[in-house]
Each structure stands twice: as C-alpha cells, then as structure tokens.
Symmetry: D2
Subunit: 297 residues, 4 copies
Amino acid sequence: MASAPLTLTALNAMPEPDFVAALGAVYEHAPWVAAAASARRPFATVEALADAMRAVIEEAPDGQRLALLAGHPELAGRAARAGRIEPASVAEQAAAGLDRLSEAEYARFEALNAAYRARFGIPFILCVKRHGRASLLRRFEARLASAPETERRTALAEVFRIGAIRLNGLVAGEGPPRTTGRISTHVLDTVRGRPAAGIGVELHEIVSAEETVLVARAVTNADGRTDAPLIGGRPVPIAIYELRFALGAYHRAAGYDLADPPFLDVVPLRFGVSEPEGHYHVPLVATPWSFQTYRGS
Amino acid sequence: MASAPLTLTALNAMPEPDFVAALGAVYEHAPWVAAAASARRPFATVEALADAMRAVIEEAPDGQRLALLAGHPELAGRAARAGRIEPASVAEQAAAGLDRLSEAEYARFEALNAAYRARFGIPFILCVKRHGRASLLRRFEARLASAPETERRTALAEVFRIGAIRLNGLVAGEGPPRTTGRISTHVLDTVRGRPAAGIGVELHEIVSAEETVLVARAVTNADGRTDAPLIGGRPVPIAIYELRFALGAYHRAAGYDLADPPFLDVVPLRFGVSEPEGHYHVPLVATPWSFQTYRGS
Amino acid sequence: MASAPLTLTALNAMPEPDFVAALGAVYEHAPWVAAAASARRPFATVEALADAMRAVIEEAPDGQRLALLAGHPELAGRAARAGRIEPASVAEQAAAGLDRLSEAEYARFEALNAAYRARFGIPFILCVKRHGRASLLRRFEARLASAPETERRTALAEVFRIGAIRLNGLVAGEGPPRTTGRISTHVLDTVRGRPAAGIGVELHEIVSAEETVLVARAVTNADGRTDAPLIGGRPVPIAIYELRFALGAYHRAAGYDLADPPFLDVVPLRFGVSEPEGHYHVPLVATPWSFQTYRGS
Amino acid sequence: MASAPLTLTALNAMPEPDFVAALGAVYEHAPWVAAAASARRPFATVEALADAMRAVIEEAPDGQRLALLAGHPELAGRAARAGRIEPASVAEQAAAGLDRLSEAEYARFEALNAAYRARFGIPFILCVKRHGRASLLRRFEARLASAPETERRTALAEVFRIGAIRLNGLVAGEGPPRTTGRISTHVLDTVRGRPAAGIGVELHEIVSAEETVLVARAVTNADGRTDAPLIGGRPVPIAIYELRFALGAYHRAAGYDLADPPFLDVVPLRFGVSEPEGHYHVPLVATPWSFQTYRGS
C-alpha cells in the first residue's frame, strides 16, 4: 500500500479485477465492497468513490455486513501478533504503539477483547488512528457498557472511518489533504516584536504520568513557524500532548543576559486533543519573563 | 534546635555560658564564635547580633578561621551518614535530599568530596538550603576549578550564609521574616473576570528528566491565592520548578462545557529560580482555551 | 462639613442639639431624622448609627417620608444654580460636573426635571456620586418610565445611599474606608521581569466621543503601582474610563531602542465601570511590542 | 491614470510616443525619463523597467536632474491649489489630506515651503503616501536643518519612491503587490477557543489629541480576520493609528451576560507605524474581561 498513489482517472479506466486488487483492502477482508463499487464507475471525485463504497456496505444484507464486522482483527490481538491481518491494519496498530505493549498491557487487551466478543459477538473495532493509547483504552471500556444495537452502529461508523482514511491514502487527488487534522505552532518574540526563528520544538504525547512519547521535532523558520505542521494530513490521535520549546537557548543565542538557570528555559505547553479532525494551532508568545498560549486559528 | 525561639531580650540578659549554649551551633563546631560575640552584648537587633558573630570570625587569626572551615562536615559524606555532625547540618542535608541518595549518587559525592579536599585542604562547604540537588552538583563541579584563594573566600561566604539562616531560625524577631525567598501564585479566571477559587496547585522540583519531587500543595482561596506562599520565609533552592494547576477540574466545577479531554486540564508552568532570596510570583491567567504567566510582583 | 471628622465617642456624648447640628444635613432638609436618632444613642459603630437614621425614616409616617423626598433639590436645577441647597448637595453636584453644563445641557435637565416632577410629584433623586454624566442621564431617562410605586422606592433607596456616603464623610472610624469603590493599576515590564517604575498614568472619564475629563494622574512607584488608588474610598461613578500609560517614555528611559514613532507610546486601556462599590484593578503587562490587561484583584 | 493597467508585454511592443504617453508622468514634468527608458526595451520585469527609469535619471547631467527636482510641486502649495500639477500629485496630496487644510495650516506650509526653497533652491519633495500629516510636518522641519548636499540626495531618493509607486500603479504584474505595506488584524475569542466572527473594526489615524481620521472599516469573517487588510498593497503612512473593535456588541450577540456598561465595549488598540513598507499585524485576543495585542506576523 505504499507504492505511488493511484489517480482517479486510472481507477475509472481499469478492468474490474485491477480495481478490486487496488481497493479490495480498503475494507478489511471484504473485497466484495470494491467489486460492487466497481460497477458504479466512473467517479468524479474521491469523495464520490468513498460514498459509493460506503453505500455498498449500507445496502448489503444484514448478514454480510455482520460478517464484515466479524472479520475485523482484534486490537493487539493474537491475529495481529501472528501477522494474520491486512498490512494496513498492521501499520495502523503499530502507529498506535499496539505492537510494543508490555505483557501486562497485552493481557489487559486480551481480557477486554474477550469480554467485548462475549457481549457483542464481534471484535472491538476502533479507528486507532484517531486515538492515543489512553483514549483507546477509555473508549474500549466505555463501549463495553453500550447497548448491543448502539454498539453495532458505532462499530460500523468506525469501519467507515478506517475505510475513508485508507482510501485517502491510496488515491491521489488535488487540493488540500482530504483527511484533516493538524497540530501547528507559531512562536512570537515580543521583546523584539517579531517571529522567533530557530527555536527547537518537540511534540510529545503524554501517555501517563510515567510515559511520554516523542511524536515530532522541528525548528521554527524565519516566520516563527515550523515548515510543516507537527501533525498534519491525518487525524490527530485523541490524547494529551505537550509542546516543548527551547526558549532559553533561543534567548541566549539572541544575546539576552539570562540568569542561571533562566526563569524560562524549556517551556512546556500541555493541551488535550478531543477532535481528531480539528486544527489545533497552539502558539507561544514569549519574553524571557513571560509566556502565553491559546487555541489559535 | 526546634524548641521555642529565643528572644533578643533574653539573649542580651543571659549568663555567657547560656548564651554560648544557645548560639554555639550557629557556626559548626565553633562555639568560640558565640563566646566572643557574648562580650559584645547588648544587641539592638538580630542583624546586629549576626554582624557581630560574623565580625568575630573575620577578625580571628587565619588559623582559627581555617579550622572553622576544616571542621565543616562534607556533603553526603561519611560523617553525615554516621551522624557525627551538628543536628542543624543533619536537617539541612536531609531537606536537600542528601540523606536519600542512591549508592551511585553517594559514590559521586564521595569522589567529588575527595577531589575537593585534595585540591583545597578543606571540605566542600555550601549553604545547601539555597540549592536544589542539580544546582548543588553543578556548583560543586564549578568550584573544583576555582583558584584556591578565591575558593577560600567562597567557602567563608557560604559559612556566613549558613550561620545567618541558623541564627534567624533560633531567634524570634518582629516584622517580616528576615530570611526572604518566596514562591507564590495567583489564579485569575478571565471568562468571569475574577479570581479563581478552589484550584488545586502543586509545586514540584524538576530534578531531572526522570525525577520530580513534590514540594508543596495548596488550594486557591477566594482571592485566587494560596493562604501561604508555596515556599516562604526561607531561601528558595536554586532549581527548576513546575507549578501544576488543576484548571480543568475548576472549569468543570464552574459548569463550563468541556471537551473530553479538555483543551486545558492540568496546566504546568515551568520556571527556574536563580536567586534564592528573591520573590518569584508566578500567576496563572486563564480561560478554558488560553493561559499565560509572567514573573509578577 | 469639611472640618475635622467627628468621632463616634463624641457623638455619643454630646447634647442633642449639638448632635442634630452635627448630623442634621445627612438627610437633605430633614434634621428631624438626626433628632429622632439622637434618642437611640449610644451607637457601637458607625454602621449602627447609619442603620438607626435609616430606620427613623422607614418608620416615619408616609407623609413625612414623602416630604423628605419632595424636599430634595433637583439635579442641575434652579435651586442648585441659585445656591438654595445643602452645601453637601452643592459639592456632590459639582463633582459630577453639573455646575458646568452648557446652556443646552441645562435645558435638557430642566425638561427632564419637569417631566419627572409632572409624572411622580417629587424631584428626581439620584446619588450622583455613583454616576458619570452619561450614566446619570441614562438613569434619568430610564426612571421616567418606571411605575410610580417602584419609582418612590427607588428614590428612597437613593436617599439612603446619599445619606450613607455623607455620614461616612462626617464620622471618623477605624479600619478600611466604609465607602468602598476603587480603580487601581499595576504595570509589569516583561522584558525585564519586574514592575515598571516611573510610568506616568492618567485616568480619564470618557463622557462622549468628543469629551473626556481627566480624573487622576500619578506615577508608578518601585512596585509598579501608584502610591494610592486612582479612585479610592468613594464610589466609582458609573462611566467609561480610559487609563493612559506613558509606556514609550518609560522604554526610552530604560534605554530600549525604539522606532519613531514607537509601536507603543501612550497606551490607552478603555473599560467600563458598572459597580460603583466594586474594585477595578486594571493592570498593564507590557513590552515595547505587546500589552495586555484584565480585570485583576 | 486610473484606466485599465498596462501590461509589460504591451509596453515592450508599443511605439515610443505611446510609451512616453503612458509613462511620461511617472516622473513629474519629466517625460524625457520615459523617452530615454524606451530605448532600453524590452524589460523582463516591472522592476527592470523601474530600474531603467531610475538609471536614466542617475546618469543624466546634474543640471537636468536638478531641473527635475525643481519642477516638483510644493506640498499644499499654490500650484496644487490652482490645479497646475500632475493628476498623480493631486491624488497623492489629497490622500494625505493636504487639500483640506485649515487656513492656519496652509499658512504654516507656505512658511515652511518658503524657508525650504530659500535654503535649498528646490521645492520640498516627500513621498506623501508614506507619511501621515503629523509625520509629514515633522519630516519637513527636520529636513530644513540638513546640509544642502545631503538634502539633495534625500530629495532624489524621495523622487524615486514617488516614481516607483506611480509605476506600480500603472503597470500590471503577476505575484504579490510590488508595493508592500500592510495593517491587518485578527480577533480570537478565548472564552470559546475560536476566531471571533462578525466583529466591527475601524482603523483611525490619530492626527492629534483633537483630530482623528477614519481610515478603514470592516467586519471580521469566520476566520476572525477581515477579508482584506485594512491597509494593503500601498505604503502605510507613518503615523499613530488606533484599531477600534466592537467587542461588547460581539459578546452580547454571543449571549454573554454583560454588565451595563460592560467592562469591555469598544476596545481601542493604539500603535505607531514607523516603517511604511512593513507589515503591521495587530491581533486582538479577548474575553469579556481581558484583552491583549502584540505585533504579530
């Protein structure tokens, strides 16, 4: 799935078997979705293609739809550990850190998976790209308490989210990325009244009081921004984050006379993300003796 | 040394042996300082008493002054571990965490102590109440590179600092605490335009990337302040600190509709203290979507 | 009324005629209130005295109470201009600028006074110390639309406000001023992380787009505050205000290299006061390129 | 000069008389500049054309260059009032308000013009598009004190500035406007954590304590910005400005319960512009009880 992205023109023109080969894995173990969508070609936009694939599932008989849910791999489950799932699933679970759990964590997932399957008859399905590890566990526990009918709909909605992101990754399009979601920043030096260039920035996910994971690292450019968003063009996993700015190093380089240790050295800005498709612009407005942030735009 | 504080009136009136018993430990293993100061009574203020004791040392013969330096206990050294030092020293070293070091850290101190003694002929003396653990080690290393003459003066200055703080702890006085140094805070809710009451605040010392120590904990009152400073009436150890405010809990209690997780939940404000006798007022001005701080007054 | 303030002890002890002479003007043209209160002596506090005088009025027959309302002078009315009102009223009206109106404004007041008297049978009574000129006119117009019963109660409440302030001005007491109300400020220099001393501050009332009145002028001290509040110990008239800070001059004096004109020179902070008895702390946190304010505490 | 802009292609192709007709007024009363530049065609860019015209002047004999300076109209002078100057000059002087002076101001300009001409033998030349009225007078007075040699160079530099702006107005080009200079804003609502839409914004020039001139008026869009900069694509006259935001109306429309008058209603942000070609981004970050600004980017 990491080869050169397909174009819509090519997809509209190719024989059905090629179309199914190209898009069969968008829905896990369900190439029949691509096959049925193939007959509805041509598509004017990637959105129209995504809508068509979703309609195929919504119009399918109950049993077939249930089979699609049942065919999904468990999170951090045995199939995943044994490699018996779609490569896309492997990558998604790895990005969420589910391939690097401790034995205790695996045990916890196994217990949750078993309880869920016992209650609902299907594996727990969640678009893991939209959740940090703590959020993922919270959702898992919350959904165990749902009514079965509600839960079936929730699971299907998650399947559609997974499919939409996979499709967007496979098919090239014009315009801005169709999968939104962004963390960006901007540093202003209000001693000199201009953007702060050359500031090292790190983005960490705060998994727990003990564990943080470095997500991205960058340096601000002449406009005080990073050349690319720290997270962009993909959902921002629901989680607590911390931006850390090397403000003291910047001020020293700018020739300010700082105390030892300086009042402000590495400045952490901690914030939570609850809307994976949202834009979180978290600027830093600072002097050697003050700083602030807000959710910007 | 923890009994009811002495008054200056009582000190001015008591027989010399009692005076020496009362103040003999202000300078480590050097009751002769108190004895000589006794003859200079009466004193109008505690400052005058402190000045007199310092003058006794400055006017003493070189050899006696050197003996005073040589008599000081090493930091985290064998004497401290074996209990052969003044109770005041025990308490001071414990407050700096020097009684709870790992074996590796003890080894590091032993090596530094040995190197220092070899180079300067006296133990390393530092007013540990003015330093967090990281600062203490940095100072130790820096002073190993000093010229012997400079270092002798530095050691004496530290002895005077230790003595002044001990004396202030022993003798009651009127007016504001004579040992300054303060960390305070203040929380303002700019959605409602008033102080934020009932916010949980913690002050942590950031010893290293892995280790933080809880220093104080409080809840803001109706004026958005803590009833007492988080650190006050004593030197603030040179270190990196983090104030942590339970802002999300406050906003939830105030009835604001927050996302899950909220954009701002626990808000850390990280800052460095370089002047132990300074006043560090670090306010938080916040809404559910913004916050700021500055060194206030 | 500007002689040395009376003490409660003296008031409790003096013969009734003296007591009435001292406090007879607290209620306009109604020395009978002081006379009746005299019989209820002694008073433990000024509040108790104020309560007693108020009770005398509340317990008086309707006709006497109505006469008290009817005896009040009109605002900016003929009696005021001709000097036939209590000296306290003269001072109060002058402080509100009602002795310096243009002919058009006098005409407007006369028309309002006539309409009010025609509708309610009493003069319009308002505690003018609690209102700027624009607020005063707005209240006048709003009250013209009240129901007569409501308006009678409102007028009496205003009479009590006037009496309480007059009494507080006449009788000395311990503790903080009993008439609250305050505008204060505080300037922080976040380039240097300390209070900004020596900044010229002016407080203006913004009467209209064309007219502003200078209310107070001060210079910040070493703590970045003015030695006294800009308004304090009296009600803050309901109005729009502007604090103006000579920030550019401060930065130039501090040796910063400013552009010509500087980005920030005289910084106005405009704010409204709606609670005359409230405390409006309006700080300025600034650098040469940024500033902010908030309602502080 | 307000007809459809010329293209570089057309200018490169047209007969010399047409070229001179088109660009003859770029330098006041000096069509010979365009004529000489015509021979240097073709030009790859507008900048190259501008450079060529400037080179013509720099390479001209001293006498001709002096004649060009001498041919410039005085500011607010008799020629301007009598209509005997280039239409471009008329428009430029009008934009600076020089056609609407009081008699006293005209008199002041006449005196300055006379003094300048007496001292330097040429009229005072200034690119008025880069100066507010107060700045223009300050520059006039300052330059009266220059050395003649320096002043001649300064006048020529101003002529080039005037020519460059005129040329940019005449000739269409691709890319961003070649004449930079911008005042823009951005309003953030930190109660709700999003851009503040629908806020009325006015930009005023503060000419003096008594006189302000409305420069632009706009309403913020969904992104909290104005659709176009308040000033853009032209130099920002050196002056003091005030942005005024109808914040109270916004908060009322958003359903916040405000006092009467609100703490913040119309919020003025006053700032100075010293670099006409600079970008002045002056945002407002606000709640009903706080606001701030800084020079952004």
